[in-house]
């Protein structure tokens, strides 16, 4: 039949679908999501293009799989519509709970309403949503504390620092870090804030902004980039300007990459977040709720300062 022959090219795709069905990690035909040991959980991340979320996913997965349940990981690719569609697919299957890291903390409302209608608890990880009433709880790094810790670390070495901030003002977590940092600054009356610029939270974003700041403010001797990548960008600008050792960098994240810079004395300190711990706690709260225990609404995971003394621990 000519029609069938025309369809022949579609065969490889169908084949691929079957391969998918047989791929490891999927126990087929387990539709019941109510009894322990076979329940479905899902997590949707704004992007998987950041090791932070890979670690967070590992943290959730470890708890869920230890209980014999299944976790489906979804990657939104920073596309709000994809996140909404991915989650409505999973919500149709009555999951036991959904973990959510929203692309857009306001635009996610439609999904939260749908989850509420279907009585599926939602646990928000790493960032806030604008309607906390629609979710079971939020598990987030103590971003205020991270900023405060950075300011205090700076105050130990330069109580009269002249500071610039490299911001990422579209992210709620970074707004909190800067608020915390300014609270910390208030304890050191000698400190002055010279300027706040958008460093885009990335190496490529931080470098040119820092280069401009160095040119504009010869007295500048400290900088607070809101995360490790923009701190690394700032360092490379300082090095290129021949001002190594004169500008103290304090930041937030505590990644392995930054720990190397801290060990070598290029970055002074970083307030470390613990993504695996966020994942572990979030999954624990989901199970607490399913067992009928009450769960606090707002959970902040403490941060820890990485300095030259303890940098080795973070290089493991």
């Amino acid at each position: 039949m000519p029609t069938l022959r025309r369809l022949a090219p579609l065969l490889p795709c169908l084949l691929a679908c079957f391969v998918g069905a047989c791929s490891p990690g999927k126990d087929a035909a387990a539709p019941s999501n109510s009894s322990p040991g076979s329940r479905l959980f899902a997590v949707s991340f704004m992007t998987f293009n950041n090791p932070f979320f890979v670690d967070l996913n590992e943290g959730i997965k470890a708890v869920v799989e230890a209980r014999g349940d299944r976790l489906v990981t979804l990657d939104s690719q920073n596309n709000s519509l994809k996140q909404r569609n991915d989650l409505s697919d999973i919500l149709q299957q009555n999951p036991a709970a959904v973990f959510l890291n929203p692309v857009n903390w306001e635009g996610i409302r439609g999904t939260l309403l749908e989850a509420k209608r279907k009585k599926v608890p939602v646990i928000v990880v790493d960032t806030d949503v604008s309607d906390p009433d629609l979710v079971l709880c939020q598990v987030i790094s103590d971003n205020l504390g991270a900023g405060r810790l950075a300011a205090e670390a700076l105050g130990q070495v330069k109580p009269d620092a002249k500071i610039a901030i490299l911001h990422l003002s579209t992210a709620k977590s970074c707004i909190d870090r800067v608020t915390g940092f300014r609270e910390g600054m208030a304890k050191f009356p000698g400190m002055t804030l010279l300027d706040t610029q958008e460093g885009k939270g990335s190496i490529e974003g931080g470098r040119p902004v820092m280069r401009d700041l160095l040119g504009r403010y010869p007295e500048l001797d400290a900088v607070f980039p809101i995360n490790d990548p923009s701190a690394i960008g700032a360092y490379s600008a300082i090095e290129a300007a021949g001002r190594t050792g004169q500008v103290t960098i304090v930041t937030v994240d505590g990644s392995r990459e930054a720990a190397v810079y801290i060990r070598d004395g290029k970055i002074h300190s970083s307030s470390a977040q613990f993504p695996k711990e966020i994942g572990r706690v979030a999954a624990g709260k989901a199970y607490d709720h399913l067992e009928g225990k009450s769960v606090e609404k707002d959970i902040r995971i403490p941060v820890k300062l990485v300095t030259r003394e303890n940098a080795a621990e973070f290089l493991q």
Partner: protein
Amino acid sequence: MNATHPLLSRLPGGLRAQIPILSAMVGLLLLFGIWVPNFLAPENLIDIAQQNCVYAILAFGMTLVILIGGIDLSVGALVALVGTVTTFTLVQGWAAPLALLSGFLVAASFGLFHGLAIAKGRMPAFIATLASMMVARGLAFGFNSGRPMSLPDEQTAILALGNGRVAGFLPIPVIIMLALYGIMAALLHFTVFGRHLYAIGNSRAAAEFSGVRVQRREIASYLGAAILTAFAGLVHASQLYGAEPASGQGFELNAIAAAVVGGASLKGGRGSMTGTLFGAIIIGILDKGLNQAHVHFSLQYIIKGSVILASVWLDTRRRD
């Protein structure tokens, strides 16, 4: 192309051309029906249509320009810009009809620019729309320092465009999509304008010699694509309960994929609205089915890429 019997001969022939893609759609539905429990539940099937209406509306517009051998890469950025302009004006307290009009006017001016630059200026469509994609994205980020904005809660009619349901069952965005499909299919398959687009796509020079006002038709195509994009932008903003200047990235590629899976040829002259609608739905079925079968997202990208590749192969084989 058969222009002598405009109505009756076109319809059955058109339907016959849809048989392969229709069979592929039914095949996929059956596959996932067996594989995924409750996949064929009515609620789940309606959800497929609802999830893909933004992509489908964009794909209708994309089909218009692909038919004449063009392309419009700006639609994703325009979705964000239309949403941002409409939300911003509503937040400023403009009346809803004025706010909607401003969104449509912004899109139309982009469409007009594309048409003029490509038809009169003879700029390559790829480059002209790539450039305006950047301009539109930049403009969208210019509002509210690039941060998302919420639609005012009292704008219930606009919020219903993306989230409401008629009789608690049929989603309003799906009705909008089907209405636009009806209009575009009628325009393309039952009017002289539609036949001219096929003629231009098959051979621009031949169309010009036979008296088709090619430049006007080209401008109208790009304008039409931009206006459809405005509809998509409006539905999308409503779905997000506001505007997100960063949204819509890569939507142009989804729209192109839907048109191509639906049988449109990037060389122009081949394609149909029905095919494009089915193309968008097939991609939607794949997305939902693979998600609900809990296939890892890395494998999903590979499978979707293979389906698009297979469609193009099918297209080139049919051509030979």
